[in-house]
């Protein structure tokens, strides 16, 4: 006998396994899809509240919005303002939310909610090459201020070597305990140290701009933005806190708005103000996937990007290979008899929709009632096809009746037995009935019980949240199931049931050997 080489087969199996596992791992790594369904990720929910009094004219409210702030990733945003039109516009590189209404009167409140994922621990992606900013021209109120500014700058300039150290020295001058005369003069005219710092730096031909940041602290309300200064050091913008001298972006600071434009503009209203509330919450990591990195090559395999309706269909469909794996294992390795090869999977799928106890109960009930009706049908001498069709109709009646009874009894889960595949049940009843006539009730119990056992096992495996999670989020793992199924197709050893079946022969063999020895 010619034996074909096994090598290509095992190569395919290995490739399937490796391909499935490697793709899954890559997608886990790059798309942050968790292997565990329960993984939660912390996010900041920030709510900006805009209040103003409208005076009956058309209203436009514009709020500066964060645009990819350093250390955070936007995950969702939504606006809530009844009766207002809302859109996000980008002007001069600044993102703004714009709310508009033709006519408004009295106190108005607009909410803007956004969620941010903390990505501090991630490596910061390379900043896009920014065009070199230019220092702005500075005007001072009167010559005394101009002189004072020049003096202060001179002092700081002497003690510094570059843009960053100059900024540090300037901050030191304004925050020291005994403020010198020139600095005091400047502070008297302009109380905001941030504005002063910007002016001085621009005067020294170092580009500087204001930044509005939000300190994130859990469960804070009525917070306002803090004005900070970004200094351009020749390569990138460096953040300085003009009140403390702190350099760089602190961990809990979210840069909400950059640039000199005002954060909030309201036309058609007065007394406008914005305040912020924030809360630290956790959301399932899975919810984050849909919102991120759609352009990645790995997301091609994500079913999350399909419409919800199709997603739920795939959710069930992708469980089928697991059911098939169970059937193959139970039949080839264990050697369990089932009625119909893949009928147990379909039953298990139905159990997923009902629930185990109720599902098994109603399945047994429907089949038992079907068997009783079938014995009557066999006396009517119908042709096979019409008899099975009759059974299908009867099975539908039985299921409807059970659902109604269940509903009357308050078990609204009774409705879900409609998920059973009717045609399959009708065939099962027909087969069982023939089996009963030809081989007796014992064989019916063996095969029916075997089918039910396989169905229950498949159900147990398929209902595990980890299995549903993995098959749905990592469809490529089904390649591993495929490889296992193919591998079992090559198993030529004994089935577990055969170890029992041939047990008597082993005894005989031992007896024979003993006899031969004697």
């Amino acid at each position: 006998m010619k034996k074909t080489s096994r090598t290509p087969f095992y190569t395919v199996i290995t490739l399937l396994m490796l391909g499935g596992l490697a793709t899954a791992w890559l997608r886990h790594y790059y798309m942050e899809i968790p292997f565990n369904p329960g993984v939660q990720k912390p996010v900041w929910l920030i709510e900006a509240r805009i209040d103003f009094d409208a005076n009956g004219e058309p209203v436009t409210a514009r709020l500066g919005l964060p645009d990819n702030p350093e250390g955070y990733r936007s995950f969702s945003e939504q606006a809530a303002a009844p009766g207002y039109g809302y859109s996000v516009v980008t002007e001069n590189g600044v993102r703004r939310g714009e709310w508009s209404k033709r006519e408004a009167q009295g106190a108005q409140t607009i909410y803007y909610k956004t969620q941010f994922i903390d990505t501090q621990d991630e490596t910061i992606s390379e900043m896009d090459a920014i065009e070199l900013p230019l220092a702005e021209h500075v005007d001072w109120d009167g010559s005394s201020q101009e002189t004072a500014a020049a003096q202060v700058l001179n002092t700081a300039w002497a003690k510094s070597s570059n843009a960053q150290s100059l900024a540090r020295e300037l901050i030191k001058i304004f925050t020291s305990n005994d403020i010198e005369q020139n600095a005091a003069l400047l502070l008297a005219a302009e109380t905001d140290k941030a504005v002063l710092l910007e002016k001085l730096l621009n005067q020294a031909s170092i580009p500087a701009r204001p930044v509005l940041g939000l300190y994130l602290q859990d469960a804070r309300r009525h917070q306002s933005l803090t004005r900070l200064v970004q200094v351009f050091d020749g390569k990138s913008w460096v953040l300085f806190n003009p009140y403390t001298g702190e350099q760089g972006v602190p961990e809990n600071l979210l840069l909400w708005h950059t640039g000199g434009e005002s954060i909030l503009d309201v036309s058609g209203g007065t007394r406008s103000r914005v305040s912020f509330s924030m809360i630290h919450q956790t959301v399932p990591a899975l919810d984050l996937i849909a919102a991120q990195k759609k352009d990645s090559i790995f997301s091609l395999l994500s079913i999350q990007h399909l419409p919800i309706e199709e997603q739920s269909m795939f959710k069930l469909l992708l469980l089928l290979p697991i059911g098939a794996l169970v059937v193959v294992f139970m039949r080839i390795i264990i050697g369990l008899k089932t009625s119909g090869t893949f009928m147990p999977i379909l039953i298990a799928m139905a159990f997923l929709q009902t629930s185990l106890v109720l599902g098994v109960l109603s399945f047994v009930l429907v089949v038992a009632m079907g068997l009783v009706l079938r014995t009557y049908l066999s006396r009517l001498n119908l042709l096979l096809i019409s008899r099975i069709a009759t059974l299908v109709v009867l099975v539908i009646f039985i299921i409807s009746a059970l659902s109604l009874i269940g509903y009357q009894m308050g078990l609204n889960t009774g409705m879900t037995i409609t998920f059973f595949p009717m045609i399959i049940i009708a065939w099962t009843i027909e087969r069982m009935s023939i089996l009963w006539e030809e081989e007796g009730p014992k064989e019916v119990m063996i095969q029916g019980g075997g089918s039910l056992l396989v169905a229950v096992l498949a159900y147990m495996l398929m209902q595990l949240s980890i299995v549903g999670h993995l098959t749905f989020n990592f469809p490529e793992l089904n390649l591993v199931a495929l490889a296992l199924i193919m591998l079992m197709g090559q198993y030529t050893g004994y089935k577990l049931s055969e170890l029992r079946r041939f047990r008597a022969m082993v005894d005989n063999d031992a007896g024979k050997n003993k006899g031969a020895d004697a």
Binding site: M1, I332, G335, N381, L383, L384, I385, I434, E438, E439, G440, Q490, Y491, T492, G493, Y494, K495, E498, L499, R500, R501, F502, R503, A504, M505, V506, N508, D509, K512
Partner: protein
């Protein structure tokens, strides 16, 4: 069950002892289901030849062509409307068997041994009407007994005249001899005797007695019922080890020739003994069961591997092959 509970130590020990170790089975050369399907059926039985044995009508016509003895075919029913006029044809027959052409495992076989007025007498003695026969045929035509419910044909053939030799060994049914033919070599044989428990059927898993037969001599070796050794027929109480099949070489020849007839490498042949015409081929099976090993208390694998190791075309005719196995596959030998 009066057995000790599974919880007690002796219960666990009994339970553990009811399993054989796979290595033990392997050492004994026992053929398992997976190995049979993979190494023998899939390897030696080309799929396209299966219809020759799955369809009894084709087998029968083929057997007639190759002059392999088989019960005479009276007529075939192919269409439902033919059943309307079946009465005239059946009335002309004294005894006959109705078989679905694609039935498997003895399903749907109706045996009529005689008539009493308008009624037909079944082998069990029960009387049935022509209407019952019509219904049976209609079911069979619709595919009730065929694999996958495919439409079928019904064969009406001559009844085997039960040879008296087996009269005391079988209860209410025709005993048959199953011989496994591998590449034309008979490798193992058993006699299947119906019992009261098996309801006149010769299927081992329904409770028929299986008697292993020595390939070399046709003499009974061991007997089992439900996988347990028996020495006497449970109903007729006849001692089973006295059985000696007469004209054994002829049986083997008949079975061996089925290899040329079908081209299938691994088949089970079911033969019966007719009082007048001698050994007859009843049907062929391309997926013969494994119970024959239990009846023979011997694994099939050593013999199968031995045949595999033989040179191609070493024995060209059925006679040469049968002579070879009668020398080689003895009770004490391979």
């Amino acid at each position: 069950m009066s057995q000790p509970s599974l919880m007690s130590p002796s219960g666990i020990k009994n339970w553990w002892n009811s399993w054989a170790s796979p290595w033990q089975l392997k050492r004994m050369g026992i053929l398992g289901m997976n190995c049979r399907n993979h190494d023998f059926i899939a390897t030696y039985n080309p799929r396209r030849l299966f219809p020759l044995v799955d369809d009894k009508l084709k087998t029968k016509l083929l057997a007639e062509e190759y002059e392999v003895a088989t019960p005479k075919l009276f007529f075939v029913v192919n269409l439902q409307h033919e059943i309307e006029h079946i009465e005239d044809k059946l009335m002309a027959l004294e005894a006959f068997a109705v078989k679905p052409a694609k039935g498997s495992g003895g399903k749907g076989i109706l045996v009529i041994i005689g008539r009493k007025n308008e009624k037909f007498i079944k082998s069990s003695g029960a009387e049935i009407s022509i209407e019952d026969i019509r219904r049976h045929m209609s079911n069979a035509l619709a595919g009730l007994y065929s694999l996958g419910g495919k439409p079928d044909a019904v064969i009406i053939e001559d009844l085997i005249q039960f040879d008296d030799y087996f009269k005391d060994y079988s209860y209410e049914g025709v005993p048959d001899i199953r011989i496994i033919i591998f590449k034309g070599y008979p490798v193992m044989a058993m006699l299947r005797l119906a019992t009261h428990k098996s309801d006149g059927k010769a299927n081992l898993h329904q409770g028929a007695v299986g008697v292993g037969l020595d390939i070399a001599t046709g003499r009974a070796l061991n007997a089992v019922q439900h996988s347990k050794p028996v020495t006497h027929h449970p109903d007729t109480k006849r001692q089973l080890n006295e059985i000696q099949i007469a004209d054994w070489r002829n049986w083997l020849l008949l079975a061996s020739r089925c290899y040329e007839m079908t081209g299938l490498g691994y088949i089970g042949t079911d033969l019966v003994l007719d009082k007048v015409r001698g050994a007859q081929l009843l049907e062929l099976n391309a997926r013969p069961g494994l119970a024959i090993q239990v009846a023979n208390r011997r694994g099939l694998l050593p013999r199968l591997r031995h045949v595999e190791s033989l040179k191609e075309r070493m024995h060209r005719t059925a006679e040469q092959r049968v002579d070879y196995v009668m020398k080689t596959f003895t009770a004490d030998g391979l």
